[in-house]
């Protein structure tokens, strides 16, 4: 698969549709001007192409292996990780204080997109490293930060998050893993964790495991959970890795549908020596800091895989000769016309590209809110950006991960029988991306979070603010985009109506309608983004690269007429009401 980072789209969206100048002007980003920014985007392309795309297939098969209790990464992954760390990619968005480059999250988003587009299994180790640093920065002691953060920032050590147990994933309140305090202030952790992403491997000198566990005697439920930090190899007094292993056993690697390059471990902790991160019983809050950041990132994973899929489908549609166009042949000298000569194929590709453009704008819009939430000059601005991002996070996670699956399946479909076999790599995309709809909270969990905590939680204030922004944007569109204006106004009105319904309907009905509401939100935001793209393309037209701007305008309109109307159905289905007891009788006797 010949993936290329869509550099031009990324720079167009950030610079001409969103507000890259504002982002780069935030305090803390003084060292990143626009030229630097664009140069790094270009370098991301080279890095992922030369290092991650090349080992993606080996990641799928043979994948990672567990031998005598030690996990060995898939062929090529170790070398890729070496380059990843040495070239500073692992440190891209981490803070300067611990050796990070402190570059904007919108740039970080491009790295994540490119990594997921070439090698989703590999991309996950980075997420873990990043997440563990974030949790330690927020809740760790000064000593923990001083010892762990530089190592995790350089990538010399790698991180893991240990939450799930065999009987609980979503409902972490059921966690049974136990922590008993030792005389020296450390804790002994005992319990079994499953689904631990990159839970062990041979690519880094050491591993830092974050573990959610219950201190002996703590209350049951989520409020009795604490967060602990345990190294794979014990540290000496200076914080250096020793040969002494902590009592951590890798019980197995899960046999999964995809992302075989990412070793998903079952881990047994038995009197594992660990140190508390933050206070006792406050562990879940710390985990949620990581989880919320991770959810935006999962959305970017979906986007990255979707891009790879659309590129593969587009290439195949141009290269595969099959059948004849209606009317004049496109390839009269050849034995057949390319697939793209068929109206239905063009419709599929155009719709996909329209959804991709709007989805990418939505994703980078979210990333720019993360920059604002971290770095805006005033606490009010930071708080406002955080509130917006908080509402959008479940939507970005759910919608973009599902877009990844949809586009991967579209790519298989475009390839016909050849898509179902391994040769073109598109079936691997389907298998790999499938997990993004599940981990860090399934789509249903996101939808529930959206309607309860996010929309009803603030009386709909933030969402209504977005609706007002959309209407203002619509008012601001030029006369030549009257069709776009009408579509955006309709979308905003629908989002307003549906939000009112979420605020006023009874709880059971709202929970039943949550997934459909989330789709309405996602499609409304896509329409907003499409309108902004249309406006920028309209403004840019007449300049050089007229084709590029014309494409963007076509794609924006495709989103509005070929994808947005799905919201009609979602609005209606959303209101169908809560089912009571269902399906009481046996259908099989």
């Amino acid at each position: 698969m010949d993936y290329q980072l869509p550099q031009r789209d990324i720079t167009f969206l950030l610079d001409e549709v969103l507000n890259l100048d504002d982002t780069l002007a935030l305090p803390g980003y003084e060292h990143c001007d626009k030229d630097t920014f664009f140069a790094v985007v270009d370098a991301i392309h080279g890095f992922v192409r030369d290092n991650l795309a090349t080992c993606n297939e080996a990641g799928d098969s043979p994948g990672a292996k567990l031998v005598d209790g030690q996990v060995y990464a898939a062929p090529g992954f170790g070398d890729a990780y070496k380059v990843f760390c040495e070239d500073g990619w692992n440190a891209l968005a981490l803070q300067e204080e611990y050796g990070g480059q402190q570059l904007p999250f919108v740039l970080h988003a491009a790295l994540r997109e490119g990594m997921a587009g070439t090698n989703l299994a590999f991309a996950l180790i980075y997420e873990l490293n990043f997440g563990v640093v974030e949790a330690l920065m927020a809740y760790g002691s000064d000593e923990q930060k001083a010892v762990y953060c530089p190592q995790l920032t350089s990538g010399n050590w790698a991180g893991t998050m240990n939450l799930t147990e065999p009987h609980c994933g979503t409902d972490l309140g059921l966690i049974r893993t136990k922590a008993v305090q030792n005389d020296d202030g450390s804790y002994a952790i005992t319990g079994n964790k499953i689904f631990i992403t990159w839970g062990d491997h041979d690519m880094s000198e050491n591993l830092a495991h974050l573990i959610l566990a219950r201190v002996e005697g703590a209350q049951p439920g989520p409020r009795g959970l604490s967060l602990f930090l345990a190294p794979k190899y014990m540290l000496d007094a200076d914080g250096n890795t020793t040969d002494a292993q902590n009592t951590i056993t890798i019980a197995g690697i899960e046999n999964k549908m995809g992302i075989h390059g990412s070793p998903t471990c079952a881990i047994s902790f038995e009197d594992t020596k660990a140190w508390i991160v933050g206070e006792e019983d406050k562990g879940l809050a710390a985990m949620f800091v990581m989880m919320n950041a991770a959810r935006l990132s999962v959305g970017l994973q979906g986007l990255g895989v979707a891009e790879a899929a659309v590129q593969a489908a587009t290439a195949y549609a141009h290269e595969r000769l099959q059948g004849r166009a209606d009317g004049e042949p496109w390839n009269p000298d050849g034995r057949a016309d390319p697939l793209v000569a068929h109206a239905d194929v063009r419709r599929r590709l155009l719709t996909a590209q329209g959804e991709m453009d709007a989805g990418r704008a939505f994703a980078y819009f979210g990333a720019s809110l993360l920059d604002e939430a971290h770095r805006a000059a005033t606490p009010e601005d930071r708080k406002a950006a955080d509130a917006k991002l908080s509402v959008l996070t479940p939507v970005l996670k759910s919608y973009l991960s599902e877009m990844g699956s949809r586009m991967a399946n579209e790519a298989v479909q475009m390839h016909g029988g050849h898509g179902f076999i391994k040769d073109y790599g598109v079936e691997q995309l389907v298998r790999d991306v499938r997990i993004t709809e599940i981990y860090e909270g399934t789509s249903a969990v996101q939808a529930r979070d959206l309607v309860t905590r996010k929309v009803r939680g603030d009386g709909g204030a933030v969402m209504k603010g977005f609706v007002a922004d959309m209407l203002a944007e619509a008012d601001d569109l030029p006369a030549e985009l009257a069709d776009v204006q009408t579509a955006l106004r309709d979308a905003a009105a629908r989002l307003g109506r549906c939000t009112d319904w979420v605020l006023s309907a009874r709880q059971g009905d709202v929970l039943s309608g949550a997934c459909d509401y989330l789709e309405v939100v996602a499609l409304s935001f896509s329409a907003w983004m499409a309108a902004r793209i249309a406006k920028a393309a309209h403004t840019g037209a007449g300049a050089q690269s007229a084709d590029y701007y014309a494409d963007r305008l076509d794609c924006a309109r495709a989103l509005l007429v070929r994808a947005l109307p799905r919201a009609l159905s979602h609005e209606m289905i959303m209101q169908a009401g809560e089912p009571g007891m269902i399906c009481r009788a046996d259908r099989c006797i």
Copy 2:
């Protein structure tokens, strides 16, 4: 996975919703009364549970193997095939003349559903055996029929269809495989075929390969293709299998996303000795006989997998304890409530079951048309049934195969992270069923067939007839089902409107809108079937098993309010028009 054939649903739908009495009264089915029919349905359940479910996982891994040019079926498959043949399942719907049992296609549909629900990879060998007999019955010489049909009916020999070549699948006119007539009237076939389902194996005494090839000197394109029959092992003068192998080389087994238990072969023919089936240059017509029958069958495969998926999701939703219900706990003594306590989970299951009920009724409605088309007393009735089935075949194939994928993915989603690993078997369903959307013509090919050959081909006469039937059905609903009546009238009106559009819009627009039109047709038929189910359940209510009837009525209403509204969006998107040239500029520079 604990699959059970939904016997009660099948008998309810056939006996109370559709017209089983009429089917059993058709000439040729005198030997099958209702008791026999129900007894066979029950026996199907036992057969698939005891023989096919048991080896499905081994089919996935290790799967079939190619060793020294001979394919060996997956562990357990050979034993299952033996029982399959000995118990007469292979002969179920084949004609008495050659040892078949000549039972109705609606019963055959139940067998296909049950086989696909337990072991899709295995189910495919049966499709091939059946298809080859059908082609020979229609086009073979008397001698070919006499020699091959009894062997293929008993299953002692197995069949294959050799169409696809590396450079062509959908566009068979590009076929290059060559046939040169020998002095004895036979032909020497030379060429390379790929994607040959069950192209070789060790389960039967011999194989009968049907091969599409071009007689030397024949015209290019589809009108120059002829159909040939070649045995794997040569036959002696009495038609018995000898040890002499024909010159057929199995070049490889494809490395696929799923159905690993079905060996998909690349086959090289080199001066392979073969006999023509029918006339020279008439091969494609013969293949299309098989293909049309196969398309209904692929729909039944989707239905079968969907059923297995919904059963798995339902079972897990009742057994997995996670989180608490809003309001009163459902399981106050347990550590958490079952998933089904959540409104969103009930919504998903109810919607899925509503789609399943209507989809199953639609599938068996199609199968009953096949019975009529074969056996109705008058040629007029046979022709009318054939015309109806012909219009519905692409819809059944496409909609039900996509329902299979959707439900399999829903089952993975219901299982959360546990769905992504192999343990529960649901990820295998996703991988296995994915091919049903592709083989025998992709969904896009079906949609094109629907709007061009089928709807525009007869000026919309058959489809308009269905609309009239739906409206008549609506008029006939009791007052208590006023909501159902309204929904069905709306659906019928929409189908009429959309059909008018297909008949009157310009060709490029219609081809662009074909897939959305197909969805409108499928959802309209689902609504019709749901209305018939609602009526039958309403009539049956008050009798014993009130719960069963109440469930059916709930599910019918769920289809109407939670799935049918998708047609709103499809109607609008359908009319978006044909895209011209798309995406001209590079997005990656």
